[in-house]
């Protein structure tokens, strides 16, 4: 008879957090391929040009689709316009939020800061809170008890994943979190990754968000129209589906508690339109290995280190063909995960980590 597997504890203040410490998984040394310093400096070099071009195009598309939706309102013809507007607002912002949060979108710091604040709001990710959360995600990627950005836990909460295609669960959690922060409080878990000195920013931003939402709601009530909410607020829900599709590919079904991003992250080949919307974050293994490389240089980074990496999934479809069965199996067997093969000649997985994860799984 199969031995029952105890449920995993993903809390940041529970037994898994202590176990991660004991196993040496916290703030540990991660594997990354060797790249000559001269080449690495070329890849890391910052520039305003690509992000200015891409941001101008993104804002133009937002303005065009939003204007068309407003002009065609309330006829059925406004629906495709708002669907496009929603994807640009609720999905394309996720990668803009992410890249500017790393400070790699633009060379000019204030441009990153402005984009980060705007995209955080559109993406419903509180700016300072998520800056610290994401720093933890990069320190302890998919380490159980340390990383709060594990989208598909084991066993996966399929209902949550599905309702998040319209952002419902995340939006609900975010609003609860915003209300808590606006009242000047953080949870015990949040206190593990947001330093004291940064919490006043969390509280101030939450109060700012509530003010904006209140204004939009008041305008909608006064004008007796849904339009203000279709422009601000609701697109974070009805336009969220593509960001969720992208986001699940990053780590779902992969190994936990390893110190090699080749084992716990996934890169996926995508067409230029998707890569524009996603700002090349489909090169996710590469991004985790070298987070200083700007999005526009990730294809070049991939070419530089591809011999050391597993072959990327050939498409989104191919990615989901391995993700869905893996998550399905994890419903009944939380020890299951997708095992990556390396190309011949690649640096091997560190055996102590690779073997250890199999034993722990």
């Amino acid at each position: 008879m199969a031995r029952a597997t105890p449920p995993r504890d993903y809390s940041l203040i529970g037994p898994s957090a202590e176990a991660a410490e004991r196993m040496g998984l916290v703030a540990a040394e991660w594997y990354h391929p060797e790249v000559a310093r001269k080449r690495m400096k070329e890849l890391m070099r910052r520039s305003d040009g690509p992000a200015l071009r891409d941001t101008a195009l993104w804002l133009t598309l937002l303005a065009l689709t939003g204007a068309a939706g407003g002009l065609l309102w309330p006829s059925a013809w406004c629906i495709p316009c708002f669907l496009a507007y929603g994807v640009l607002y609720g999905s394309a912002t996720d990668s803009r939020w992410h890249e500017s949060g790393h400070g790699t979108a633009f060379k000019t710091a204030w441009m990153n800061d402005v984009l980060y604040q705007v995209a955080s709001f559109m993406n419903m990710k509180e700016p300072t809170f998520w800056r610290w959360s994401h720093a933890r995600h990069h320190t302890d990627t998919i380490i159980v008890g340390r990383d709060r950005e594990i989208a598909a836990m084991r066993p996966p909460d399929l209902a949550r994943l599905i309702v998040n295609f319209v952002g419902l669960r995340d939006a609900w959690d975010t609003m609860i979190s915003v209300l808590r922060h606006a009242s000047g409080r953080v949870t015990a878990e949040e206190a593990t990754f947001i330093p004291d000195s940064e919490r006043h920013k969390v509280y101030r931003e939450a109060r700012g968000w509530l003010t904006v939402y209140a204004i939009v709601i008041v305008v909608a009530v006064l004008t007796r129209s849904l339009l203000p909410l279709l422009y601000i607020g609701l697109p974070s829900l009805y336009g969220r589906w593509l960001a969720t599709i992208f986001g699940i590919t990053q780590h779902a079904g992969m190994a936990e508690n390893v110190l090699d991003h080749r084992l716990n992250a996934r890169s996926v080949r995508m067409n230029p339109v998707l890569r524009f919307l996603y700002w090349n974050m489909n090169f996710h293994v590469e991004h985790h290995m070298f987070p200083m490389v700007p999005y526009h240089a990730l294809p070049a980074l991939h070419a530089e280190i591809r011999d050391d990496l597993p072959e990327p999934c050939s498409s989104l479809w191919a990615a989901y063909r391995e993700i869905v069965p893996a998550l399905w199996r994890q419903l009944h067997d939380p020890t299951h995960f997708i095992r990556r093969e390396l190309p011949e000649g690649a640096s091997p997985f560190r055996p102590e980590m690779h073997d250890a994860v199999f034993e722990r799984a």
Binding site: A27, G103, R131, H138, E198, M292
Partner: protein
């Protein structure tokens, strides 16, 4: 009494770049600015102990390779989160093509 330690040649560091050197029992990051001045700090980021010599020098700023936090390497000030605590900086002198760093007495 403080001591001056020869840590590298000026040609060992490219313009607007950083290298890591050993100086006694310390690991240091030695920077060459775009205006050809030399500077030294502790080698590891104060946030999560990443090696700053793997980072990117931009003007007067060094960006940590792990979380993109930043320091002014001339003053040691943390200028971008998640770096909050300043870096220790050390006086530097350049003589005859060599970079010397003043360290506290052992």
């Amino acid at each position: 009494m403080n001591r001056w330690v020869d840590v590298c040649g000026t040609d060992d560091v490219e313009e607007e770049d950083v290298i890591e050197v050993e100086a006694g029992d310390r690991a240091l990051a030695v920077y060459r600015s775009p205006t050809d001045t030399f500077h030294a700090t502790d080698a590891l980021c104060t946030h999560q102990q990443a090696h700053l010599s793997d980072g990117l020098v931009m003007g007067e700023v060094i960006e940590c390779p792990k979380h993109n936090g930043r320091f002014n390497y001339m003053t040691g000030a943390a200028v971008r989160v998640p770096c909050l605590d300043p870096l220790t900086v050390y006086p530097v002198s350049v003589r005859d093509g060599r970079v010397l760093v003043e360290l506290p007495a052992a």
